[in-house]
């Protein structure tokens, strides 16, 4: 049976471990708060023991420092007894840094590919989530089954680094979709429109977006739509803004979204769900909170 070694931290990593453990033998190096514990997985305490005799090594951290430390660790693949020297980076890294790591690690015979997961709701992973793969096509085919065990939709974006770049593109537009939906819905509500009417009409008109399709009915029914956090989104948008600055792309709206998410994360706490952005718009627009009558 295929054995996967995964080093990581955070909620997305915990989800990835749970998904993989349904199908594979999984060895886990927890570089975070211990939340990666999962029934049926084996815990290890070093990078060298993580990679020993495993078929695939994966990385999925919510901390850039932890990711960088692992990628720079001389213990990674140290034993030389891993069945494969392919490292699948499922963290959200900077695309250019990923390219530099790929160059450095290739000198040690290690092939790094990037395969970050974009999702807003892990409970509905099959609906509008995807893994963006950056790396050679033959490597993708060799790890495709493992990736589809996490998320059925895998999109090949190009060479190494393009997976991370694509996820920043997607995360930025997804964040804009949601923030635009909140501010426009607040304007409509303050001008007398019913949330249920907006959910019906806007989603059948040119205002449609993925967030309006999920958020407006959820606001009308006072239910949640997501389990990712404000901190994660703010971090993604900071990376996207940095990439825009580096490459000379203005991104006025996405930069505004970055600021809004940072402010919301500071106000509500970075571990708050992105659904709580609705509270910001309700307060800032003078709307009654859901259920307040």
């Amino acid at each position: 049976m295929t054995t996967i070694g995964l080093a990581g931290s955070g909620e997305i990593a915990a989800f990835v471990v749970r998904q993989l453990a349904r199908k594979y033998t999984v060895r886990v190096l927890d570089v975070g708060d211990g939340s990666l514990r999962c029934e049926g997985t084996e815990k290890v305490d070093s990078a060298s023991s993580l990679t020993k005799d495993v078929d695939i090594v994966a990385l999925c951290t919510d901390s850039e420092a932890a990711r960088d430390a692992l990628l720079r660790s001389p213990d990674l693949f140290k034993s030389g007894s891993a069945a494969s020297t392919i490292l699948v980076d499922m963290s959200q890294g900077d695309p250019d840094e990923t390219r530099l790591f790929a160059k450095d690690l290739s000198e040690r015979g290690i092939t790094i590919v990037d395969a970050p997961l974009h999702t807003e709701n892990t409970e509905a992973i099959e609906e509008a989530s995807a893994i963006f793969f950056g790396g050679p096509a033959p490597v993708l085919e060799s790890v495709r089954d493992v990736l589809t065990a996490v998320c059925p939709k895998v999109i090949h974006c190009g060479e190494v680094g393009t997976g991370h770049a694509m996820r920043l593109v997607v995360a930025s537009i997804a964040a804009c979709n949601r923030l635009i939906t909140y501010e426009c819905a607040a304007m409509g509500a303050r001008n007398g429109l019913a949330m249920a009417d907006m959910a019906t009409v806007l989603n059948k008109s040119s205002g449609y977006n993925s967030a309006s399709a999920r958020v407006l009915p959820a606001l009308a029914a006072n239910v949640r739509t997501a389990d990712v956090t404000l901190g994660t989104w703010a971090s993604d948008l900071r990376k996207a803004s940095a990439l825009g600055m580096r490459y000379g792309a203005p991104m006025l709206l996405a930069t505004m979204a970055r600021s809004t998410l940072d402010a919301a994360s500071n106000r509500l706490g970075e571990s708050s769900s992105i659904d709580r952005l609705a509270e910001i718009w309700e307060v800032d627009s003078g709307l009654p909170a859901p259920g307040a009558g």
């Binding site: 537009i173 304007m187 009417d197």
Partner: protein, 305 residues
């Protein structure tokens, strides 16, 4: 039911065309060529809005602005002069909700109900008869006119008894559409500068929570070299100014919408009053110094700025 239609511009003309042969139709427009084209198809030309009102049971208006509606309704030889109790006026203009409510109050005194029924969608959907019609106002009048609206498109919504809600809904829709459109284009421009192909981004965006009306319509059209919108940029700017005004009146912050308005204004100032919305694609490209289709990206030449 005798129908009158005032305003045979690009949108009004496309909507009114669906009524030919289904109802006795009178038309009025300042553009004689537009009127003649309807007469050739069997419609009757009215000399003035007042005459059109006298010869119609239901009158629909589709004009550029609420100020035009005011002039057509209450100006010399205006529609109001030809109206009488029991007739109904439907305003399909992308107008200002408060002004439309004021028009409705004035006509109500004459026993004439007015409700708003603006449309939302691309010109192609108006021509195809699938455009969204967003109505609001007195339910009885709406039900009377519903067969007429359904002759234009089966996609008719009624957003409550309050006149103007339809126009507010359309304004919200316009704001969401424009903001998502510009956000999508500017982020995709960043992706192009990194070296991501447009087709790959389109696939990724549409597979995920990043998808929106623009990613599903405009991005594939750009890749295929075809046009996906046909709308005056100046009118789009007008619509967005109206959205920002509605927000400001109710003290609702719209940081992203405000930035989107500014980008559109830059586009209009740069391109001139005859520009089309479609030309904003080139504005976003020039702002990022890249091309959505082609190879002139920083990454492809190995340079980050």
């Amino acid at each position: 039911m005798r129908i009158g239609y005032i305003g045979l511009g690009a949108m009004g003309g496309a909507l009114a065309r669906h009524l030919i042969g289904k109802f006795p139709l009178s038309v009025f427009d300042l553009n004689q060529k537009a009127v003649d084209s309807f007469v050739e198809l069997g419609a009757t030309a009215a000399a003035t809005p007042a005459e059109l009102g006298r010869n119609s049971d239901v009158v629909l208006l589709c004009l550029p602005r609420s100020s035009d509606v005011q002039a057509v309704l209450f100006g010399p030889n205006g529609l109001a002069e030809g109206l009488s109790t029991g007739k109904i006026v439907v305003d399909q203009t992308s107008g200002v909700p408060a002004e439309t409510r004021d028009f409705a109050r004035q006509l109500e005194e004459m026993g004439v109900p007015l409700f708003d029924a603006p449309v939302s969608g691309a010109m192609a959907t108006a021509i195809a008869g699938t455009i969204s019609i967003i109505a609001s106002g007195p339910h009885t009048a709406f039900q009377t006119v519903l067969p007429v609206l359904q002759a234009i498109s089966p996609n008719v919504f009624h957003c409550g008894e309050r006149v103007g809600n339809g126009q507010t809904m359309k304004t919200v829709n316009n704001m969401m559409n424009v903001s998502c459109r510009l956000a999508t284009l500017e982020v995709v421009a960043m992706g192009r500068k990194f070296g991501l192909p447009l087709q790959a981004m389109t696939e990724a965006i549409n597979a995920t929570t990043a998808r929106n009306y623009t990613s599903q319509g405009m991005l594939p059209a750009i890749a295929e070299g075809r046009q996906s919108t046909k709308f005056w940029l100046a009118l789009q700017v007008k619509d967005i100014h109206q959205a920002i005004s509605l927000a400001a009146e109710q003290k609702v912050p719209m940081p992203i919408g405000g930035a989107a308005r500014s980008i559109l204004q830059i586009g209009l100032n740069t391109l001139g009053k005859d520009a089309q919305l479609e030309q904003m694609i080139g504005v976003i490209e020039s702002m990022a110094d890249t091309k959505f289709v082609g190879t002139s990206t920083n990454a492809e030449t190995g340079d980050a700025k």
